[in-house]
């Protein structure tokens, strides 16, 4: 069984985001780039499955759509333990374009399971996984918080509003992964970092799919009013304010 894990290259989640060129693009100065947190959890789970005896998972490949400047993030995924990587060489500008490029990989190579993080921490779209499945004509299961593979048979835990379901899913399908799939993202070992240097990154050229959305500009959120402090000796005052001033209780 081969698993493809799609990874997005995003600013570190503690980044103080700033914009440049009249707020039309992210100011990338000083930004640390990382694997999107949900993608990192997907990769961690895929590697755990590969190591588990009897899962039938033989190979874990990571896929990324982006320019050569993303390579350090791809190398990070290889250092964590992915066997190889595929990069589609384009600075794709929206989820539609990214998903189209990823689906082209599925035409070139055969995979049993594709994992995508439920969203990326930059655009927060939750778009790529579902779009990829639709381009490929594959089923998908969204909001997966658990993934088990035994003898090539896949079962998942799906989070639904106010509950949870356990499903058996025939392959191939796209698993759209949320928190819970793995406990902690795996950290690369020194040996892993050394090995990653020689692991292959296959570079594919993009097709001509045009994007369907365009970012016109960014706007920082409106600043909130300064915090009104209530003295710790009179907590009841807080309840009065919430009732009479904010009118929320």
């Amino acid at each position: 069984m081969r698993i493809l894990v799609c990874i997005s290259n995003v600013p570190d989640t503690t980044t103080k985001v700033r914009f440049a060129d009249g707020n039309t693009r992210l100011d990338t100065a000083g930004i640390q780039w990382v694997i999107n947190p949900w993608d990192e959890l997907s990769l961690t789970r895929a590697l755990e499955l590969k190591e588990e005896g009897g899962s039938g998972v033989e190979e874990v490949v990571v896929a990324h759509v982006g320019p050569p400047t993303s390579d350090p993030t791809i190398r990070k995924a290889l250092a964590i333990g992915a066997d190889s990587a595929i990069r589609v060489n384009t600075g794709a500008s929206d989820a539609f374009q990214v998903a189209a490029q990823l689906s082209a990989i599925l035409k070139e190579q055969s995979f049993d399971l594709v994992l995508c993080g439920i969203e990326s921490s930059d655009y927060n779209g939750s778009n790529v996984g579902g779009m990829l499945a639709e381009f490929a004509g594959w089923p998908s299961v969204s909001a997966i918080s658990g993934l088990a593979v035994a003898g090539g048979e896949v079962s998942v835990t799906r989070e639904i509003d106010g509950g949870r379901e356990w499903l058996r899913v025939p392959t191939p399908f796209v698993g759209i992964v949320q928190k819970g799939i793995a406990k902690e993202p795996r950290i690369a070992s020194m040996r892993g970092i050394m090995q990653a240097r020689t692991k292959p990154i296959l570079v594919l050229e993009p097709d001509d799919t045009a994007p369907l959305t365009r970012v016109l500009d960014f706007e920082p959120p409106r600043p909130r009013a300064a915090c009104k402090f209530v003295d710790a000796s009179d907590p009841a005052e807080l309840i009065r304010l919430l009732q009479n001033e904010a009118k929320v209780i």
């Binding site: 949900w38 779209g125 918080s145 399908f173």
Partner: protein
């Protein structure tokens, strides 16, 4: 022409989110000079469907049939896009919840429709179609221009006010035209019952590591219950196993937008704020006056939660009696 709004049901019932979606779709249809049609799948009675009429919906298409369970986004997207094409939809509106997030990307590809997920207001212009959404986990908004004949939007919960416009509703009941069968087989399911769902709660009381031990959660639960709200927690608390993972609010946990969020013993790391920054009011209770949570909060108390919480509980009890 039309705007199609997909109104999901929960065991045959709608909730406030459904009416927010209806209100949004009706307002969007007015901008586009067309009508809003609510699309409902599954098992919903006429009485319930008619409630959409309170919010300006005049036409409901209700589809039932084989192959709708277990939910399969490929099957449902096929059914919805079939109706959208037949009704000449110019826009599709869905909730930005688990189901909406699973369906919208498929509809976008199937209909070659520009997608904006998590919108919080009406488009600022129709031609070009420009709409705003939160990005960078709540640290900025982006204005997006959507291409395509059809647009797909998912609406963030509790971001759009209800617009009441009562009137008659025409309901047509049809057999769903499914092109595929559900791929997965349902083995088991579990539904939370009796409690206010965190995602639906108007008021959320949340505890962080400052609560010191899982044994100290009593007053948090009591306060939430008295206020008719839900309980939540920060990531370290769920990682420690002090509280269940479903309660984790933050970037990688649940993203919520209640009217009131009370953060107790939570310092307010960027990742936590990402999950709660859409709350209308944030209250912070923390011993550290420099904790970043106070920058996000409108009301704050600097002090020890163990002393303050019981007194808040008392004050709410006094208010309710």
């Amino acid at each position: 022409m039309s705007v199609i709004v997909y109104t999901e049901n929960w065991d045959g019932k709608f909730k406030k989110l459904s009416f927010e979606l209806a209100s949004y779709a009706v307002s969007l249809a007015e901008m586009l000079g067309t009508e809003a049609i609510a699309l409902s799948l599954g098992d919903v009675g006429d009485d319930e469907l008619e409630r959409l009429g309170q919010y300006g919906i005049r036409r409901v298409i209700h589809l039932s049939g084989e192959g709708l369970a277990p939910f399969d986004s490929q099957v449902a997207a096929g059914i919805i896009s079939h109706v959208a094409a037949r009704e000449g939809a110019r826009a599709l509106v869905l909730a930005n919840n688990n189901l909406g997030k699973a369906l919208a990307p498929r509809l976008s590809v199937r209909l070659k429709a520009g997608l904006a997920s998590g919108v919080h207001q009406l488009p600022s212009s129709i031609n070009p179609f420009v709409v705003s959404k939160k990005v960078y986990s709540g640290n900025a908004f982006a204005r997006l221009e959507l291409q395509g004949e059809i647009k797909v939007l998912t609406l963030a919960q509790n971001s759009f006010d209800l617009v009441e416009q009562a009137g008659e509703v025409a309901i047509s009941r049809e057999e769903a035209v499914a092109f595929e069968k559900p791929a997965a087989e349902l083995l088991e399911s579990h539904k939370q019952s009796g409690k206010v769902l965190l995602s639906d709660a108007d008021i959320v009381v949340s505890g962080g590591r400052g609560m010191k031990s899982p044994g100290n959660w009593g007053p948090i639960e009591e306060l939430a219950e008295l206020l008719g709200g839900a309980t939540a927690c920060s990531r370290p608390v769920s990682d420690e196993g002090w509280r269940p993972h479903e309660e984790h609010t933050g970037q990688t946990g649940k993203v919520i937008a209640p009217n009131l969020y009370i953060a107790v013993g939570i310092s307010g790391a960027t990742q936590h704020l990402a999950g709660i920054s859409s709350s209308k009011y944030i209250v912070a209770i923390n011993t550290d006056k420099d904790a970043p949570i106070f920058e996000a909060a409108q009301y704050g108390i600097v002090g020890d939660a163990a002393k303050i919480l019981p007194r808040l509980v008392e004050a709410v009890k006094a208010l309710k009696s």
